[in-house]
Symmetry: C2
Subunit: 220 residues, 2 copies
């Protein structure tokens, strides 16, 4: 049996590796949409299997460490946070797949409009995922707080894009089905940002021992 501290380090590395796969999936899903590239879309669909396998592997490792080492206090909180964060990452992977499904439907049809705000919103959501995991690995509460702040910017972009697309639909009803697909892409990006926010809230609880989940909501 390896030393507990080494195994915690393995878990941290696995979570970072999983986060890397998930960030890539989000990025590629949006590039497949903006570049109208079905091959990239396909790569995200293929990559999902690996993300799912890693989720199970991380879950097993975290549960085994809980069972075998029966850790106290800080290590216990770290392991329960790891189980939650793993779950959030896997769901972000699912959301990238949802985006790819919309993308594949849109690639075969004429574009509604040039996509500028959706890639911006995606870039912000990706950065939130990246910072939330970085804050977890480094135990950096300040970095985690920046994720909570970005969530508002994502919501504003979502509202802006949605209003614009609705006015497109109203002016030209032939765009309705395609504009709706784009609106659903923004909803998936919003949910990705929500999962990053959940991860950041777990990090704040882990680092500071203070539960900010619903207080943070009230402050915003």
């Amino acid at each position: 049996m390896r030393h507990f501290i080494e195994e915690l380090e393995d878990l941290r590395k696995l979570l970072l590796e999983m986060a890397g796969l998930v960030e890539l999936a989000v990025h590629e899903s949006v590039v497949s949409l903006t570049d109208r590239d079905p091959e990239r879309a396909q790569q995200v669909l293929v990559g999902e299997a690996r993300i799912n396998q890693m989720e199970i592997r991380i879950d097993e490792l975290a549960t085994r460490l809980l069972a075998l080492h029966q850790p106290m206090a800080k290590d216990l909180r770290f392991l329960t946070a790891a189980i939650k964060i793993n779950n959030d990452l896997e769901r972000i992977g699912d959301l990238a797949v949802n985006i790819v499904e919309r993308s594949l439907s849109l690639i075969g049809q004429p574009p509604v409009k040039p996509l500028i705000d959706i890639p911006r919103m995606a870039g912000l959501a990706e950065s939130m995922v990246h910072r939330s995991l970085d804050s977890f690995v480094k135990g950096d509460a300040e970095l985690a707080r920046t994720v909570l702040l970005s969530d508002d910017a994502v919501d504003e972009l979502k509202d802006l894009i949605c209003r614009e697309l609705v006015s497109f639909m109203e002016r030209d009803p032939s765009t309705i089905a395609r504009a709706l697909d784009l609106i659903l892409v923004t909803r998936n990006l919003e949910r990705i940002a929500d999962h990053a926010t959940n991860i950041a809230e777990d990090v704040l609880f882990l680092v500071q021992g203070v539960d900010v989940r619903h207080h943070a909501e009230e402050q915003r």
Copy 2:
């Protein structure tokens, strides 16, 4: 310190109580929409605070039981499942709030159409939440499996409703914004069904020790 078995029983009861609050929130959110009743909508918004408090309380109890009793095997799996299920229930509560926001926006405007399939879809999603928690408390794998089967029916209803609303939008562009709100309600119901499915998958893992998460997806 109370006996471990009694405390596990407390945890089970708290989760059932939380599930009851969450099911009620989902139900009332959809009734506020179909009956155009802003007071019911308001009750869901008020009830959310209680759901959020219970999430924190259940999380603290489960983590404390992990730390103090350092359980092995089955009890350990039960506690990690409880932490995940608690998380899913809180998110279902958030989704009911999302539905209420759409409902409050729609109540002030003329109805697009009589709502028949949305309440049906909501009824199925509520039943999935109920059965998933029931299967957890009873350790009933057969009941958990019925939840997985219902998920397909929810997706079919969602596609049906969405196609119908898009054709409404195309025929009468003045309905676009309102029909879009209804489409977003169905997406929230779909996500509620997804969370119930996650809970049922956790129950199958807990009861049978077999991880069905991604195999189940492949079978479907």
